[in-house]
């Protein structure tokens, strides 16, 4: 397929189609719906050989995802906000069962008050639950990362579920140029799905048993180690993809922009990074040595890479599109802990909650704030 102008949601659906999932349980919620609507269209038109399950809730969507994957097929689902929150109970069950399910999250604020617009509270709130979380900035990155994510999650040294996080509306509903790979290319990159284990009368296994205090913790340690292993796999798969498709996003974990000689930098995830690029360019034109760190992988968290990327910085300002109420931005906490040994100044701003636009002005202010300490800032 050549380059086209396409809505990010539909582009994602095209990316998913190329990965040939067999079962797609889904439940509608704004702003995720365009993704599954596009998939429904493909299925009902006979263009995608898959079963869509019109479940009655997201709790069941997530459960059907588990069931289908356990039965031995590749799966996909998508959700947002309250939908992800309703899946919440099942998230650690999927990861604890080491099922490499892939799900898109079109990020949207959590109620109350109800808001259908973007922030990162839905997925970031789920950061503890053993799902790989890759965050994307553009339509192209959404397609490319979806394809990568299946390969990462299904790697037998990983075997963890993955979330593809894209900003609701701010990305999901945007039309822009993107290259949709050819099926043969993807087939060459992503092998057919071979479950490491499945429910099969030929070879009966028991999944999801009760673990006593003498074993539970070991399973969690194994999950955690698989997460750390995923740091490597994310990089490798990214590099392989870059080689084959000619498109790269930093090292797969972090993408650095004008960081070579930067003294101050801004760090964030998702679409705000795009606007930040423009801000960095402008400040550079003004002679300011500033740069940008885009975090692609929130979990596993690339601590080593971040230490490396920031070692020559004087200041870093972290933009959180979510807040751990009663404390601070969760990304800020993560970053400060990672860089605990360093001496750089790290500021924090909460921005873009419930669809509040994150403007150039905001990000400029956030970057320039690094001249002083600023931990509890709000970009209103």
């Amino acid at each position: 397929m050549p380059e086209i102008v396409v809505e990010a949601s539909r582009a994602m659906a095209l990316g998913v189609k190329l990965c040939k999932p067999k079962v797609i349980p889904m439940y509608p919620i704004t702003p995720q719906t365009h993704i599954v609507e596009a998939l429904a269209e493909m299925i009902n038109n006979g263009e995608l050989q898959a079963e869509m399950i019109h479940v009655e809730s997201e709790h069941s969507a997530c459960s059907a995802l588990l069931g289908a994957q356990a039965a031995g097929v590749r799966t996909f689902s998508a959700t947002s906000s309250q939908g992800l929150a309703l899946m919440y109970e099942i998230l650690p069950i999927i990861s604890g069962n080491r099922m490499p399910c892939v799900m898109a999250v079109a990020n949207r604020a959590l109620s109350a008050p109800i808001s259908i617009w973007n922030d990162h509270s839905d997925a970031v709130s789920a950061r503890d639950q053993g799902w790989i979380q890759l965050w994307v900035e553009s339509t192209q990155e959404a397609i490319d990362t979806t394809i990568q994510l299946y390969k990462i999650c299904e790697d037998h040294s990983v075997l963890l579920p993955g979330m593809l996080c894209l900003d609701g509306f701010t990305l999901s509903h945007v039309y822009e140029r993107a290259i949709v790979p050819e099926q043969e290319q993807v087939d060459a990159f992503l092998p057919e799905y071979k479950p490491y284990i499945k429910l099969d009368p030929e070879k009966p296994i028991t999944m999801g048993p009760i673990a006593f205090p003498n074993s539970f913790m070991e399973f969690k340690k194994m999950q955690h180690e698989a997460m750390l292993q995923a740091l490597k796999v994310i990089k490798n798969v990214h590099d392989e993809f870059a080689k084959q498709f000619g498109r790269a996003y930093g090292d797969g974990l972090l993408e650095l922009y004008r960081m070579e000689d930067a003294e101050y930098a801004l760090m964030g995830m998702g679409t705000l990074v795009g606007t930040a690029r423009v801000v960095v360019d402008k400040l550079r034109e003004e002679g300011q040595k500033v740069g940008l760190i885009k975090l692609r992988s929130l979990r596993p968290f690339p601590k080593g890479e971040l230490i490396n990327a920031t070692k020559n910085l004087q200041g870093l300002t972290v933009i959180d599109r979510h807040i751990s109420l009663g404390y601070e931005g969760p990304l800020f906490s993560d970053v400060r802990s990672a860089l605990f040994e360093s001496d750089i100044r790290i500021n924090n701003f909460i921005a873009g909650l419930g669809g509040r636009d994150i403007t150039q002005k905001h990000l400029r202010k956030a970057l320039l704030s690094l001249k002083e300490r600023r931990e509890g800032g709000w970009l209103l």
Binding site: R98, I205, T206, M207, A211, F212, N214, S215, F219
Partner: protein
């Protein structure tokens, strides 16, 4: 937990158990306070006891006799209660 089993556990990916029916390693006969004793001479081989045993602890042997597997019998007394000819008696377990 409270059981003697202290052998090293093997940890599988995702806690999958690959050995079907492996609870047979757990000899629940140790739970028994009362012991069912089957009098083959009274038994009419109706299979009622076999059918109702919650433990699957009654089996038909080659000769067609119903025998109790004390490795698993928990001594609930259902077999004795249900036997139409009262061929099973519950006795106090002593060890």
């Amino acid at each position: 937990m409270a059981e003697k089993n202290t052998k090293k556990i093997e940890f599988t990916l995702g806690a999958v158990i690959r050995e079907p029916g492996s609870t047979i390693k757990n000899k629940t006969g140790g739970w028994r306070a009362m012991r069912p004793v089957l009098d083959q001479s009274k038994c009419v081989r109706c299979g009622t006891c076999w059918m109702y045993c919650p433990e699957g602890a009654i089996k038909k042997d080659e000769k067609g006799n119903f025998v109790i597997d004390y490795d698993y019998c928990k001594g609930c007394g259902i077999c004795a209660n249900e036997c139409p000819v009262k061929a099973i008696k519950m006795e106090l377990e002593k060890k």
